[in-house]
């Protein structure tokens, strides 16, 4: 396969905040189904598409992602001909308006300009989907367009995808506008913040942005470019999640409990790679009851688990009930504790409080390392 493109994985825009989880790590490092991290999906998509030069831009709290990606060998990237570069931005505070993807690219412009490939695929580290980028690139080259943008048609744009951009297309799939989703209608075309363009246009947009506004993002620049360049949409089909709020995060995990959805997404011809930990299998004790759930390894299950995601090394005590919840790694749910509609972060210990329930649609979030 010809490697005509290099990959760029960017962070979520500075106005995207996911309650709770985001205080401890960037969205790319969020756990998905208890064993993956969100960033595994764009990297695996690139690796499976034959892209073996990948830039990962980190703009805040990089520890968990750096640890997770490491030398990138687990992503099946050729260790001689390919590599994953972790690129940092030092100059801006986490929530600063200047902390944009463009500023990250500007700080590392030399790295970008040195890439030998003619094209670039830009993909976000906060979305989960499956896409063959080689196919997208071939389509882009064949169409002769300047920028190809990936989008997904959704019917819950009022409740979800609130921090995403929506696109409007003309009949020829030409992008007419790209703007924030204000939740004005159910049906929208959500931009997947994924673009294909020549390296030349990419570098040009970055340089222009500097003159335009110090707070502009690549998406802002492409929105502007709709007037002068040929920007076209490419429809994505299949599972798609944008992790832009706790609700979106929760829903993305829960959707995978639908067996058909999971089997359609996880197929042996398109593996999703992750860092593995050699965790032993999970032990289910006599008296445990587990239904409609995904359970990771090294768990000790003594209680009841329903419609939930259970991360690695989790203990569910005797008589405990976990319902419609996401329990992240190393959490210890004590005997007799009842948890419903919650996202319980890593290393949490629930012993004294016997009931954690959210009555609203939005799940309750339990902070990392909390002892309750």
């Amino acid at each position: 396969m010809a490697n005509k493109a290099f990959g760029v994985i960017n962070s979520a825009a500075n106005y995207i905040r996911v309650e709770g989880l985001h205080d401890y790590r960037p969205i790319g490092a969020f756990s998905f189904l208890g064993r993956f991290r969100v960033i595994d999906f764009p990297i695996s998509n690139m690796s499976n598409s034959g892209i073996n030069r990948i830039h990962v831009y980190l703009n805040s709290r990089p520890r968990s992602i750096v640890e997770h990606i490491g030398d990138g060998r687990h992503y099946n990237i050729n260790s001689k001909r390919g590599n994953i570069q972790l690129l940092f931005t030092q100059n801006n505070g986490h929530s600063s308006i200047y902390n944009t993807d463009i500023n990250a690219y500007l700080e590392n412009l030399e790295q970008i300009e040195r890439m030998p490939q003619d094209y670039v695929i830009v993909a976000p580290s906060y979305m989960i989907y499956k896409q063959d980028y080689q196919k997208l690139l071939d389509e882009h080259v064949a169409s002769g367009t300047d920028i190809t943008l990936l989008y997904h048609k959704v019917d819950q744009a009022k409740e979800y995808y609130r921090a995403c951009n929506v696109v409007t297309l003309n009949k020829q799939k030409g992008v007419q506008s790209l703007e924030r989703n204000m939740g004005t209608a159910k049906e929208k075309l959500i931009s997947m913040d994924t673009y294909v363009m020549s390296k030349e246009i990419f570098v040009d947009l970055i340089k222009k942005a500097k003159k335009e506004s110090s707070a502009y993002s690549l998406a802002d620049m492409i929105a502007l470019a709709c007037e002068t360049l040929d920007v076209r949409g490419y429809q994505h089909k299949g599972f798609f999640a944008a992790i832009t709020s706790l609700d979106d995060y929760y829903r993305a995990n829960m959707e995978m409990l639908e067996y058909a959805t999971a089997m359609d997404f996880f197929t042996s011809d398109w593996p999703f790679y992750t860092k593995t930990t050699d965790a032993c299998p999970t032990q289910y004790f006599h008296g445990a009851s587990v239904t409609n759930s995904m359970v990771c390894n090294a768990g000790l299950i003594e209680g009841t688990v329903e419609n939930s995601i259970i991360g690695r090394n989790v203990h569910i005590g005797k008589g405990a009930v976990v319902r419609n919840s996401i329990i992240l790694s190393y959490a210890d749910i004590g005997d007799g504790v009842y948890i419903e509609n919650a996202v319980v972060d890593k290393w949490v210990e629930v012993k004294k409080i016997k009931k954690i329930v959210s009555e609203s649609v939005t799940p309750t979030y339990v902070k990392r390392n909390d002892k309750l």
Partner: protein
């Protein structure tokens, strides 16, 4: 080349014929165990966790899968510049023809050149088919402290059963004074575990002599140890007390799997300070459907449970359809149990399919049934 203090040689050439069809195409050390492991993961992980960098794996019988499996030393962290796992199969040499390994000692003798290249002070000889966790570094400290020529790991077995083992008789200082293979009237209950540390200089000489001896069967237990005891060599017994299993039969392999269902099982695979490393893939977590009922199980990631499971060990990519039942059984990677089928007291081999409504195994049977061929379904 940097000198290494102790080099390990894992004997992994045995067929394990009492495991029947399970070892028809793979050697015993490559047999699946414990939901996600292969047996050889145990000695290899023990080596890695004990700080041993160079591990030779001596393979012979049906070694294709085993060779490719162990060659990826990175799996056990044995892939730094100074470490590695080396597959050593019998090879043709300039001064003698191609010869199979004629015995455990011969397997080492034929690789003296490999060992010499690392110039070790000690060599550790292990079996590739035992399930246990052991810190070989502690055993080496003991070996050095005793100034031994050989240290043999032993474990206490019930006196009643001692006549089934190779028994070491020791003096008060744990020095071995006699070795008896399956004695009718055992004098001690210290059974050899087939784990040896030898001072390489001494052992090298003995192996060269042994190669020239036409009457030798070139076996450590039968030939080398007796020669050492008859000479003036110092042999010591190092007592080990943790979990240890030689899974020679289908029944014992099944039993060793079932041991993992105990909440306080001695093997303690979830001890993060002494992990057993293995091939770990990025498959999805265990998927437990609404129709599932699990009552006592040890289940690996990537298993799909739709039916009932009780007291069983389930490997990755196993699929148990809704309405199927799995009781007191071990389902190896990729095994499929279709709707309405029942599996009882059985060990189902890798990638075997149990068809719709089929009944396999028997609750009352004393022996465990090995299912190594697909079972047809009934409508």
């Amino acid at each position: 080349m940097a000198q290494t203090s102790m080099l390990a040689m894992i004997l992994a050439g045995g067929r394990g014929s009492r495991l029947h069809e399970l070892t028809k195409k793979v050697a015993k050390p490559a047999v699946a165990y414990g939901g996600k492991y292969r047996i050889i993961d145990f000695p290899l992980s023990n080596c890695a966790n004990s700080g041993i960098d160079i591990v030779g794996v001596l393979t012979q019988y049906e070694s294709v899968l085993l060779n490719s499996y162990v060659a990826a030393g990175g799996r056990w962290g044995l892939d730094t510049k100074d470490s590695g796992v080396f597959v050593l199969t019998p090879r043709e040499k300039a001064d003698c023809g191609l010869d199979v390994y004629r015995g455990t000692a011969d397997a080492i003798s034929q690789n003296i050149d490999f060992i010499d290249a690392y110039d070790p002070e000690y060599i550790l000889v292990l079996s590739g088919d035992h399930i246990y966790k052991m810190n070989y570094d502690k055993m080496l400290s003991f070996h050095k402290e005793m100034g031994a020529d050989a240290t043999i790991a032993v474990r206490g077995v019930p006196m009643k059963e001692a006549s089934r083992f190779g028994i070491m008789n020791t003096d008060d200082n744990r020095r071995i004074i006699e070795f008896e293979e399956k004695p009718e009237k055992p004098k001690s209950n210290l059974a050899s575990m087939g784990i040896y540390i030898f001072t390489w200089k001494t052992m090298r000489k003995l192996l060269i002599e042994d190669m020239k001896n036409p009457d030798s069967s070139h076996d450590f237990g039968k030939d080398i140890i007796p020669v050492m005891l008859n000479g003036d060599k110092k042999l010591y017994a190092y007592e080990f007390s943790g979990y240890w299993k030689d899974v020679g039969t289908i029944d014992s392999l099944w039993e060793a799997n079932m041991d993992l269902l105990d909440s306080d099982n001695e093997l303690n695979l979830d001890d993060t300070s002494w992990k057993i490393y293995t091939e770990d893939t990025g498959i999805i977590p265990q998927y437990i459907a609404s129709s599932a009922k699990i009552d006592g199980a040890y289940i690996n990631q990537g298993a799909h449970i739709g039916g009932e499971v009780s007291r069983s060990v389930i490997f990755s990519n196993v699929k148990i359809a809704p309405g199927a039942k799995v009781i007191d059984s071990v389902l190896m990677p990729g095994a499929i149990v279709e709707e309405g089928a029942t599996v009882t007291r059985a060990l189902v081999a890798e990638n075997i399919r149990i068809g719709k409504n089929a009944k396999v195994g028997n609750k009352k049977s004393e022996e465990i049934l090995l299912v190594a061929k697909n079972v047809k379904g009934e409508d």
